[in-house]
Amino acid sequence: MSATSHGAGAGIVLGICFVFLGQQFGYIDLTDLSTAIVDLVIAMVVGAVIFGAIGMALGRGYLRRHPPEPQEWKPS
């Protein structure tokens, strides 16, 4: 799993959590099923894009600071 997909997966979960937390704190209305599903899908997509980009940036920065060592081939 790459850093981008790792961040995107976390962003999907975070998008769902933020929508439910917004409803719990009274900022979002989730009473109608269709609008609630639309809100959740939008939050998942936005979360995946934003946190996927963050994960990609963090992954590149980490690889720049910690370049992978060349590995030797060992027969099994």
Binding site: M1, S2, A3, H6, G7, G9, A10, G11, V13, L14, I16, C17, F18, F20, L21, Q23, Q24, F25, G26, I28, D29, L30, T31, D32, L33, S34, A36, F51, I54, G55, L58, G59, R60, G61, Y62, L63, H66, P68, P70, Q71, E72, W73, K74, P75, S76
Partner: protein
């Protein structure tokens, strides 16, 4: 091979998806089961009222008319830990069927999270008012936030003759001490920590794919035919 680091992070994705599924179940199933118990009739206050036209009614929640809370932004602030006094008053045109059931339904995700009824078992033709003591039940420990409530009047046959939607805003103690907000906050903190560690995922992913090719070694040429000094291979039949 030592390079076959085959998707050791796949269980992390599965556990995350399982966590989301469990959260969804926590939202939809248990709360519905906890709050769906419909209380039988409490009591009905008989009052005399009459008027022409269709059934008209008004509902008060602790003395406040609910038509002032028609939107989420103007929701009534309620305390889930205390009961509320809900009063239905209606007028029925002459000759129309008088409603016998006053109902409150708390709506969440389009489904009824909690239903309360006051059924008139007395004189069904003259009753023009009903009083309900509303309590949310066990969901007081689970949920807070803005919810839509539908107040409706039903006839004995189950037909809805009047209904009105209004919104209530319920606050947990200290604004956060309900089960669902606590779980959500813990989940958000965990996922943010997971994103902060995603740089290491890049290194693991880089190590896990594209193993280097084995070094080129001079291999002796394979003998394609038998050498003159070696015995010829025998056939499947073998020596007699």
């Amino acid at each position: 091979m030592v390079f076959s680091r085959v998707s050791q992070h796949r269980p992390a994705l599965r556990s995350r998806l399982a966590l989301v599924a469990a959260l969804s179940l926590l939202l939809l199933l248990p709360t519905g089961a906890l709050g769906a118990s419909s209380g039988p009739s409490t009591h009905v206050v008989i009052s005399a009222a009459s008027g022409p036209g269709s059934v008209t009614a008004n509902v008060t929640w602790n003395g406040v008319n609910v038509n002032t809370a028609g939107g989420a932004s103007s929701a009534l602030s309620v305390d889930f830990s205390k009961s509320a006094s809900v009063v239905f008053n209606w007028t029925t045109p002459t000759g129309a069927v008088n409603p016998t059931d006053a109902r409150l339904q708390m709506i969440y995700f389009g489904f009824a999270l909690s239903t309360r009824d006051v059924v008139n078992t007395g004189n069904t033709t003259t009753a023009r008012s009903a009083v309900m003591t509303w309590t949310p039940g066990a969901i007081v420990y689970v949920l807070e936030g803005v919810y839509k409530i539908t107040a409706s009047l039903l006839t004995a046959g189950g037909a809805t003759v009047w209904s009105e939607n209004f919104f209530v805003r319920a606050a947990a103690p200290l604004s956060i001490l309900a089960v669902l907000p606590i779980i959500l906050i813990v989940l958000i903190v965990w996922e943010l920590y997971s994103v902060a560690r995603s740089g290491r995922q890049a290194l693991l992913s880089r190590k896990g794919k594209a193993p280097p090719s084995p070094p080129e070694e001079p291999t002796p040429s394979e003998p394609t035919a038998a050498s003159p000094g070696e015995p010829a291979p025998t056939g499947p039949e073998g020596p007699p």
